[in-house]
Symmetry: C2
Subunit: 664 residues, 2 copies
Amino acid sequence: MEVVDHLAEERSKAEFDVEAMKIVWAGSPQALEVSDRISKLVASDPVFRKDNRPMLSRKDLFKNTLRKAAYAWKRIIELRLSEEEAAKLRFFVDQTAFTDLHWGMFVPAIKGQGTEEQQQKWLPLAYKMQIIGCYAQTELGHGSNVQGLETTATFDPQADEFIIHSPTLTSSKWWPGGLGKVSTHAVVYARLITDGQDHGVHGFIVQLRSLEDHSPLPGVTVGDIGMKFGNGAYNSMDNGVLRFDHVRIPRDQMLMRVSQVTREGKYMQSNVPRQLVYGTMVYVRQTIVADASCALSRAVCIATRYSAVRRQFGSQNGGPETQVIDYKTQQSRLFPLLASAYAFRFVGEWLKWLYMDVTQKLQANDFSTLPEAHACTAGLKSLTTSATADGIEECRKLCGGHGYLCSSGLPELFAVYVPACTYEGDNIVLLLQVARFLMKTVSQLGSGMKPVGTTSYMGRAEHLMQCRCDIQRAEDWEKPRAVLEAFEARAVRMSVACAQNLSKFANSEEGFAELSADLVEVAAAHCQLIVVSKFIEKLQQVIPGKGIKQQLEMLCNVYALFLLHKHQGDFLSTGCITAKQASLANDQLRSLYSQVRPNAIALVDAFNYSDHYLGSILGCYDGNVYPKLYEAAWMDPLNESVVPDGYHEYIQPMLKQQLRGARL
Amino acid sequence: MEVVDHLAEERSKAEFDVEAMKIVWAGSPQALEVSDRISKLVASDPVFRKDNRPMLSRKDLFKNTLRKAAYAWKRIIELRLSEEEAAKLRFFVDQTAFTDLHWGMFVPAIKGQGTEEQQQKWLPLAYKMQIIGCYAQTELGHGSNVQGLETTATFDPQADEFIIHSPTLTSSKWWPGGLGKVSTHAVVYARLITDGQDHGVHGFIVQLRSLEDHSPLPGVTVGDIGMKFGNGAYNSMDNGVLRFDHVRIPRDQMLMRVSQVTREGKYMQSNVPRQLVYGTMVYVRQTIVADASCALSRAVCIATRYSAVRRQFGSQNGGPETQVIDYKTQQSRLFPLLASAYAFRFVGEWLKWLYMDVTQKLQANDFSTLPEAHACTAGLKSLTTSATADGIEECRKLCGGHGYLCSSGLPELFAVYVPACTYEGDNIVLLLQVARFLMKTVSQLGSGMKPVGTTSYMGRAEHLMQCRCDIQRAEDWEKPRAVLEAFEARAVRMSVACAQNLSKFANSEEGFAELSADLVEVAAAHCQLIVVSKFIEKLQQVIPGKGIKQQLEMLCNVYALFLLHKHQGDFLSTGCITAKQASLANDQLRSLYSQVRPNAIALVDAFNYSDHYLGSILGCYDGNVYPKLYEAAWMDPLNESVVPDGYHEYIQPMLKQQLRGARL
């Protein structure tokens, strides 16, 4: 196929230095170099081909995943890749696999919850993949409520062993990735019972399968839980079911960093602060926010490029039709998502900093900022994953009918992404946690306790409760200060109003339950403020490169005003802005879309995604969409024969009116 | 498995007669009888099994579809089913197939656009399925803009034939269901060219495949366009690609009811009014609205039942945890969808009436209400399909992690449903059509022309522009009159404001383009009003049955106040209600949720869906979810062997540190 860049004209319109923006997106020149190099390595290797994925049966898809995982590991060893490079390689291979859980959950669990001794024993095995581990927490009947888990680990002082057991059907471990078919070991969460006393849920390292022939050990029933959403997506993962029938493990396989069981069966707490687990949570959620910006930017890249390629209506005098990206309806749905992708990128960067900050403070036994950091990461996980899941689907719709084809890449991207709204804390449950923290903060406002971190604006509640927005013209909405104050005022006023409603209940827990839908809205307003404020903070840094700052300011404004328009009701009902000012914000948004338009293609080029990684014909770099779609169609297994399998048995008898006698 | 109704207690709480509600939902006792009988017929026949669908490869799935279609047709003949019963049977088989297009588009196109003679020739063949047809309109490069189609039909007066040709790659027919592998014929839309003159797009009956051996006829290139979203979903359909290389058809295969080409090659219009096509459009869109209520109610039924089964948190003194349906956060997401399902059902019923009304008027050459009816059906198609697609995904999320399993039925329901947002008019394009009609209506308000049908409230614009909502207590929101007036005022005020903004543009088309995002919001407000008002009208009818009326009043109120809360910004910015009144509406909504709660299970039972049709373990009638999930897991092909295929090649070398030498 001739190589012509059908988007060259679009690229020439950009008003900024795309290479400089790539560095901003990647985080640093070094990060861009690594990412670019590894991405090309993966894209050029035929083993990592993925365009045929939707056509594979479950078994073939799974076998292909095992192959890619083994091959990736082999390449990592051969090329002596660093930890960062190895992680990037797995990222660009872009196929969910047991290794995600081995590296992302099993190893960190041992690191975080194991004693020095336990780490020394288990980590070297895990690092070399001499054992493969998973993280067996959720059960058939128990998800969000970890304290409700039913699996038991009963200490037997005679044998110095724990007996791991699944007492009921609903106690079957259910969902852990890598468990179904691959893992040799698991960190299993179970209720610790010593001497008849239940000490709550603790973690245990349990071997599941023979290291010789991979068969499940005695007392272990294990398998895959079956097909999931999408063609490829998480079907390359062996999410598993696991039941224990009185399986014995040595006492030293309980993860004992925070609490121990002694040889005598005595349950003890160590002097390691329990709050340490929150550090891990902040870490995991920070990676989820980073993933959100990746997934959303991928979808936006596809939809933006195809919106520039696709034409519909508006032909004048027989000339070409209008590019759909020129329609305001398209822009008003697409550009806020483009801005969100950048916004999530920067808030993710900031969360990385927050994690380091929290870690340092924990090491200095300073727990003061922990509740705020915990609430903030919970809220940001919820906001970014919900917006990303919805945004991917919106991008699919923005591609018209062709977005429904697997070759657009969007169906699979959606299917593989949506679990992020549920795992690591259901998004609504997390917002309720944020709301609880906010209500507490409000209740302490009079007490002299100063709100910290992302809630520090609440310290200015008195001002924010009565301030008046001074916007008079649409352009006034360009001022970050005005935007920020409107978001702060909205969040404070909603919090305070909710707190007042709560105070009318005699029983505060009942009130919390009754008003929980409102509390979710309060938490969302607070989280949106965080994202907006971190974007504005980012803009206060020095960011080199021609036109870069202007582009980011524009995107920041799009993000904020889009939210303001979408949640107009909040801003108006709390009197933060007037109806006139809301309308001006909308006018400003429209004019911002016109400013984004010429830069749109370059802004998605800055993500630096290879065609392999994007995995989308609609989003291909050169924009040569239609010939590629046409060619790809003929690769479908159904096209292997002109006359389909089943014609003689089913279609012919119908056409020939011979169904009556036919055996079907 | 022991049969225990785990939801019996829930069912006993219902405050109304479920059997009477089943009749309301079905439309009449007779409709319920048919639907119940056919649904059981399908559910009890092993050929119609569908629980294994997600595990089938594309080819196996497609062959299975051919089998089901042939078998269904055989049963229809054997049982001498009526047209209504046959349609119900296909509905309950619940697998997208070429027959959908044959009956739903090919036959109606010939009926609507063919002459008497053409109908007499082709319909008997189609009715007996001696030929199978599809509807070949959209092209690779052309979707929404039908006038932009490129395929040509050039009249050759020498041969008295049309030459059907695909002049470019983008003119390839693309998407038509049933085209890829099955159809013998198609109604092809092409630009009619006589004597060098282009007369625009017309329909032609074109044979594609041999009736002897099913091979494509000379000049015809045809195939399947490949995999689509979801595991099963539309992958059972052979959406096709089709190119013509100068294919000749006799002149009498142009559909000539509205315009003709004579033997001499003269292009003529008949005296049949062109507006007739709008009648068809109203019909098709009415069925789409009815389908929306089916799809949404299915998802709601699953999520509601599982929300009553599932428990999470809130255990006191070791007792059972709280049913998730008791959480206000769950109720505030689920119950509005339950109310929407009922609302869409009733507006669909009304659309059926509207179609009959339009048809009668057309026959009497009365076209006066046609533009309004057209705008109204376009808008309702857009509103109901968007809300349903989003609602299904929301229901999936409401089921927590297990909603992500194919066995929940929700992933496939989503994947098979979402194209409804794009086909038969992209939802945003449709709203723009509505907006155009509304702007025209507003501009004519002063002229003495009275707005008709669903826009007649605009005749009271003067009052609605300045009326004040008199709600003072939460319960006041129970008054339909107050609710209706708030929705009417909002719609009028938004329309008028937008019309005023439009008038500031010198060029009205430019203004329309620039303000199109706002215009979409105006159209949405108008469409929401229609649904609310038709629900209220429904309640003015006599509806027998214990407690039925109360339940429907409650649901109508939930639907309206949920919309009001969601779009608070509209109501506040236009001054239709005050912030205080908005807050009272929210209070009322909360108390309505408590009223819905005890009736929730019975309200979804009233849909009368069999477990087969629901296709969801989470939604099964008896609520015995966990044992069924556990059993189903072991059916996955991955569980055929304990040690997975690929272990020896890929996992073992990894564990044994023998990757370096391995060939992968």
